[in-house]
C-alpha cells in the first residue's frame, strides 16, 4: 500500500528542499510479531524516495542486536534519525510516525540535517547547561494535532545537547508501555521516569522540568 500520493510527494519535495546534510533513517523492525513494521518500512521507503538527502537503512532487531543496543533501541518498529557521518543524536520514533506525526518526522529530519530553526538565546543557554543524562519520552496518538509540537521540541532538545535523548512513543502500538506510564492523555511527556508533563508545553516548561531533576 502506498502512503504518499503525488500531491503529498510534491509538497514533501518542497519541504525537504532546505536540507543541508544527509540524514539516515535507521529503521529497526522484525519480520514477525510486529503489526506495524511492514507499514513503517513502506512509509519510510517512500519518504526516502522523496529526497536524495534521505537514505533508509533497515535493520532486523534480532540479527542486528548489537547495533540496536548501541542506539538504545528497545522495541519495534523504531526509527533512529542519524545525521552527517551517521551521527546519533538520540532522536527516535517508536511506532509509525503517520497521521499528524508526519509533521514531527519532517521537522526532526530538517533539524538533524542542519536546516532547523535557530533557538532563541534564552533557551540555548539553558539547554547547554544540562550536564546529566536526560531521557524524554513523548507519548502520542496519531490523531492528535498538537502532539507533533511536543515531539519536535523534545527532539530539538536532544539535537542541541548530547546528554539529552528523546523519543516519540505511539501510545496505541505500545499499549503495555502506555499502561505502565498511565498514559490516558496525549501528548504525555515523561522525563527520566520522574517528571511528567501533559499537553504540548512550551519549551520553558520542558527546561523547568529538566532543571528540577
Amino acid at each position: 500500500m502506498a502512503f504518499l500520493n503525488d500531491e503529498i510527494k510534491k509538497q514533501l519535495e518542497e519541504i525537504f528542499e532546505p536540507m543541508k546534510n544527509e540524514v539516515t533513517v535507521a529503521l529497526f523492525a522484525t519480520k514477525e510479531l510486529c503489526e506495524t513494521c511492514e507499514d513503517t518500512k513502506t512509509f519510510m521507503t517512500e519518504m526516502a524516495e522523496v529526497s536524495e538527502k534521505i537514505s533508509l537503512d533497515v535493520y532486523d532487531m534480532n540479527e542486528d542486536a548489537t547495533l540496536a543496543e548501541e542506539f538504545g533501541v528497545k522495541r519495534v518498529p523504531t526509527i533512529v534519525l542519524l545525521g552527517e557521518n551517521r551521527k546519533d543524536f538520540g532522536i527516535q520514533f517508536n511506532g509509525i510516525p503517520g497521521g499528524h506525526e508526519i509533521n514531527s518526522f519532517i521537522s526532526s529530519v530538517l533539524e538533524v540535517s542542519g536546516a532547523g530553526e535557530e533557538l532563541p538565546e534564552v533557551f540555548a543557554e539553558r539547554i547547554a547547561k544540562v550536564d546529566k543524562p536526560v531521557d524524554i519520552k513523548v507519548f502520542v496518538t496519531l490523531g492528535c494535532p498538537h502532539c507533533p509540537g511536543a515531539v519536535a521540541k523534545a527532539h530539538k532538545l536532544a539535537l542541541e545537547n548530547p546528554n539529552i535523548r528523546a523519543q516519540m512513543i505511539e501510545a496505541q502500538t505500545f499499549s503495555e508501555l502506555s499502561d505502565q506510564y498511565q498514559v490516558s492523555g496525549v501528548p504525555k511527556i515523561v522525563i527520566n521516569d520522574s517528571e511528567e508533563l501533559v499537553g504540548n508545553q512550551p519549551l520553558e516548561m520542558f527546561l523547568d522540568a529538566i532543571e528540577r531533576l
Binding site: D39, F43, L142, P145, Q172, V183, S184, G185, V186, P202
Partner: protein, 319 residues
C-alpha cells in the same frame, strides 16, 4: 493510514527591527482574517502566534461554516492559511506574547526574548478549554480526565467513557467517541445547548446514555478514573456514573491573562470591546473568543477579525 501533512505556506519572517502598522497576536480564525483584511488595506501587518490554526485544529468536523458544508477543522484552517499566505503576511509561529507595553508605539514582548514594535495591536489569542472545577479533576488530569476527544479518544477504545457538557463540542465529542468506546455517558448540568441536528445524531446512537440536569460533583478513582459522583437535579438524588475516561467539553476560557494589566476585562476574563473591536486602550483592538463578544463560533471570530482590522486601519488614518 491517513496523513495529516501540515504544509506551512511560506511566509516572510517577522522582524524586531521594523515598525509595523499592525501586529496581530494569535493565529486562529480571528487573527488570520484580520491579517487578510489589513493586508488588503495596505497596512504593514504581521502575525505572532503560539499555534497557527488555533483551536479549530482540535475539531474533527466543521459543518456550520457558510459555503463549506462538510470540512474538517484541519481542512478549514489550511484553506484560511493558504489564503493569507497568498498575500505574503509575515508570520512567527510557536511564540507566546507575554507582555505588551502601551505607548505611541506598542512594544510586544515574546517568550523568545524579542520585542516587536507596532502602531496598533489586535489581540486574537482565543480561548482554552474550561475546567469543571470539581474535586478530583486536577488530580486525574491525564489519568482519565481529558480535554481533547480526537487526541485521547483512541486511548479509551472499547472502554466506557463519559462526556461532560451539552453544547456542540460536547455532543460532537460524544458522537465521535461512540464509534471507539464501548459506551458513552453524556452528563450535562442543564438542557442541551447543541444544535438539534447534532442532538438527533447522538440520540440515534445505541451505545450512548444521556444524563441531563445532572451536575458532576467529583471525579473518583484509584490511580485512574473509575466514575463520577453527580447530582440529579430533578430528583435531588446522588448518582454514580461509571467510566474510565471523562472528556470535559463545557466551553472555553479566554487566553487573556497576559493582558490583565493592559486592557479592561469582564468578570469572566474576557477583554471588553466596543462594536468596533476597540479595547479601552487607544490603538489596541481585540477580536474573537478572547473578547466579550457573545457566541463563540468560527464564523463569528473570523468576522470579528475583519472588523478589528478595518477599525485598526481607521485608527491609523487618524494618527
Amino acid at each position: 493510514m491517513e496523513l495529516h501533512l501540515q504544509t506551512k505556506p511560506k511566509a516572510p519572517s517577522v522582524s524586531d527591527q521594523e515598525v509595523y502598522d499592525l501586529l496581530i497576536v494569535g493565529g486562529g480564525p480571528a487573527g488570520l482574517n484580520a491579517a487578510l483584511y489589513a493586508k488588503r488595506k495596505g497596512l504593514k501587518v504581521a502575525i505572532l502566534a503560539e499555534k497557527v490554526g488555533g483551536q479549530v485544529l482540535d475539531t474533527s468536523s466543521v459543518e456550520n461554516y457558510l459555503g463549506l458544508p462538510s470540512e474538517t477543522g484541519e481542512g478549514l484552517m489550511k484553506k484560511f492559511q493558504a489564503h493569507v499566505a497568498e498575500l505574503k503576511v509575515p508570520i512567527k509561529g510557536h511564540v507566546l506574547v507575554n507582555q505588551i507595553e502601551d505607548g505611541t508605539l506598542k512594544r510586544v514582548h515574546t517568550n523568545t526574548g524579542q520585542i516587536f514594535q507596532s502602531k496598533t495591536v489586535i489581540l486574537a489569542t482565543g480561548s482554552k478549554p474550561r475546567k469543571l472545577d470539581v474535586p478530583g479533576e486536577k488530580e486525574f488530569a491525564g489519568k482519565g480526565v481529558a480535554y481533547c476527544a480526537i487526541c485521547d479518544g483512541p486511548l479509551f477504545a472499547g472502554m466506557d467513557v463519559m462526556v461532560a457538557g451539552g453544547g456542540n463540542s460536547a455532543v460532537e465529542a460524544a458522537i465521535d467517541l461512540s464509534k471507539i468506546a464501548n459506551h458513552v455517558s453524556l452528563v450535562h448540568r442543564s438542557q442541551f445547548r447543541a444544535d438539534q441536528i447534532l442532538v438527533d445524531q447522538l440520540i440515534a446512537k445505541e451505545n450512548v446514555s444521556i444524563h441531563l440536569n445532572t451536575q458532576i460533583q467529583s471525579v473518583e478513582g484509584q490511580g485512574l478514573v473509575s466514575h463520577v459522583n453527580a447530582l440529579d437535579k430533578e430528583t435531588g438524588e446522588k448518582v454514580k456514573i461509571e467510566g474510565n475516561g471523562l472528556f470535559v467539553e463545557i466551553g472555553y476560557l479566554p487566553n487573556s491573562d497576559a493582558f490583565a494589566n493592559l486592557v479592561k476585562r469582564n468578570e469572566r476574563g474576557e477583554i471588553e470591546v466596543t462594536a468596533k473591536c476597540q479595547t479601552n486602550i487607544a490603538g489596541i483592538f481585540a477580536a474573537g473568543d478572547v473578547t466579550d463578544m457573545p457566541y463563540k463560533q468560527i464564523v463569528i471570530s473570523a468576522g470579528e477579525g475583519a472588523k478589528a482590522a478595518l477599525a485598526a486601519n481607521d485608527y491609523i488614518n487618524t494618527l
